[in-house]
């Protein structure tokens, strides 16, 4: 049975990775699972300098999901390269570094800094709904998507994944713009902007007022967007949004995703990603699937 998949020349032992921001740099979760089982670890977004993030409360539970407005707190690229990368490099898994920024220059600085590091890919987050500048501003206009993609591509020595926002009218337009800018892979979806009001305190449940909705509640939206995008672009897609089981992951793969990320589910089960890998293998055994590639985009 073959579970290997290929993303822009990078071969993953299986299509399952962790979603940025839900898994840190893997350190904490390594006490719960062997990171070498994962197709790849996608790290928390990292910027050129440390970011303090948003005030608390930063999260709120909602039915079948959660809102978060962490605000991309991160220790900055220097600490990340000195501390987190050497840790991850001990494992037999691919390393995908998620990059955030406020300006094009910020993104480019991080991308250049990563060029000489021993990583496998970069994922550029142009879709974070929780920071005032940068983030989503780059992800909601096709011209901006294409421009930032090509700026990053000019500097990157590793394959570039552009992470798209679902908070747009037409996901296909954004996907095509990223492809035109030279993106090697697309990631979707990031969180959907939402709000929760605490009726007892008569205030917003999270300090930032709005937050990004994730978890099983958003899965049908994500599957639909992955499907539509897969019909419209030639580059591979990493699908995510509410994956908590192998069945969920397989929906994305059948809809056209070459790989999948497990995010919010890590919070209810720290071994969620490993369980998804086991479940995909069971499914392949049960239905006598020789190669996982037979499943990718099999539902037209």
């Amino acid at each position: 049975m073959n579970t290997k998949v290929n993303l822009a020349g990078v071969e993953l032992k299986n299509p399952v990775m962790t979603a940025s921001g839900t898994f840190g740099s893997g350190m904490e979760y390594s006490e719960f699972m062997d990171l070498s089982r994962l197709g790849a670890v996608v790290t928390k977004g990292v910027a050129n300098v440390p970011w303090p993030g948003n005030p608390t409360p930063r999260i709120a539970e909602t039915c079948g999901g959660m809102l978060n407005a962490i605000g991309l707190q991160n220790p900055g690229i220097d600490v990340f390269c000195e501390r987190d990368l050497p840790f991850l490099q001990k494992y037999d898994t691919k390393i995908i570094v998620n990059v955030c920024g406020k300006t094009t220059e910020d993104y480019c600085e991080v991308v250049e800094r990563l060029s000489d590091e021993d990583i496998d890919m970069m994922e550029i987050n142009i879709s974070c709904p929780n920071v005032k500048e940068g983030g989503i501003a780059f992800g909601q206009n096709p011209k901006a998507v294409e421009a930032i993609t090509s700026e990053v591509k000019k500097r990157a020595k590793h394959p570039v994944i552009m992470k798209l926002s679902p908070n747009v009218t037409d996901i296909i337009e954004m996907a095509k713009a990223a492809e035109a800018g030279g993106a090697d892979v697309l990631s979707l979806i990031n969180t959907l902007t939402g709000m929760k009001i605490d009726i007892n305190r008569r205030t917003f449940a999270i300090a930032n007022k709005t937050g990004g909705l994730s978890g099983p509640a958003i899965r049908p939206v994500a599957v639909r967007m992955v499907y539509q995008t897969a019909q419209a672009v030639k580059i591979p897609i990493i699908g995510m949004g509410g994956i908590a089981s192998a069945e969920d992951a397989l929906e994305f793969i059948l809809a056209g995703a070459t790989a999948v990320s497990v995010g919010t589910a890590n919070f209810s089960n720290p071994c969620a990603a490993a369980d998804v890998i086991d479940g995909i293998e069971d499914y392949m055994n049960r239905f006598k699937v020789e190669d996982i590639k037979e499943l990718i985009g099999a539902v037209k």
Binding site: M27, T56, P57, M66, S268
Partner: protein, 256 residues
């Protein structure tokens, strides 16, 4: 490897208005746990994805069980309160750092708890020997007073004045002229603030247990941060993770 465990509930009873006490069977957590640490509980209803953090109230003498005392605050804790002995519950832990018991060795310790900050003080009191005072603040109805008075001189404050000092824990400390060399406290923020001010005034070393909304519970997601006075060694900003770097912090390290 650490795991989330499926644990058997040994017993569950209501010990106060909307306050429940649950003994859970788990050798592994009981064996490793320290006072002031917490566990996370998981809902069977998958529409509630996030863990509920609950402090360790007691560790069984045989080190095969833990006691959790919690208030029904919403749907998650409501679900837990309906479980009966023999039912299962998913538990992860022990999590966080716990109280620095070595700092209390041979000293006059004052434990201060308010509301649902009272439960962790029981195991803490049990594991301290010598001169231990406990000042506990209740809204009205009392709970865990028997357990606390067994291992500490217990002073009670009630908001309605029905028992002990009328007012809060600080009123009880002043009224009873409690002297101490070190303070361990857990409770709502305004109470912690008053305690930290008092400790600062009297130059008493003080540790406080903080509360924040949690998602991962293990230090990965950065949901549960509190503000630190200095740039933190892990985050490289003035933020610490309550679930991993805490929940117990030296009062001098965090902003309230």
């Amino acid at each position: 490897m650490k795991t989330k465990e499926l644990c058997r509930i040994i017993s569950q009873e209501m010990i106060g208005p909307e306050i429940y006490s649950m003994w859970v069977q788990t050798d592994r957590i009981a064996d490793q746990a320290r006072p002031g640490q917490f566990v996370t509980l998981y809902s069977k209803d998958r529409s509630r994805m996030l863990p509920r953090p609950i402090s360790l109230c007691e560790i069984g003498d045989d080190k095969k069980s833990i006691r959790l005392v919690y208030r029904v605050a919403g749907e998650g804790t409501r679900e837990f309160s309906r479980l009966r002995s023999g039912d299962d519950i998913e538990v992860m832990g022990p999590l966080g750092n716990g109280f620095p018991m070595e700092e209390a060795q041979g000293k006059r310790v004052l434990l201060m708890g308010g509301g649902i900050g009272i439960p962790p003080m029981v195991e803490t009191a049990k594991q301290l020997s010598g001169d231990v005072a406990a000042a506990m603040g209740y809204r009205d109805a009392l709970f865990l007073t028997e357990e606390l008075s067994r291992c500490a001189s217990l002073y009670i404050a009630t908001e309605d004045g029905s028992v002990g000092t009328a007012g809060n824990v600080m009123d009880a400390v002043r009224e009873n002229h409690i002297r101490c060399d070190v303070i361990f406290a857990c409770g709502p923020k305004p109470m912690l603030k008053a305690i930290v001010d008092y400790a600062g005034e009297h130059k008493i070393p003080c540790w406080i247990s903080m509360e924040e909304r949690m998602a991962c519970g293990i230090g990965a997601c950065l949901a549960c941060t509190c503000q630190s006075k200095e740039v933190d060694g892990h985050s490289h900003v003035k933020n610490k993770r309550v679930c991993k770097d805490g929940p117990v912090f030296p009062a001098s390290e965090v902003e309230l």
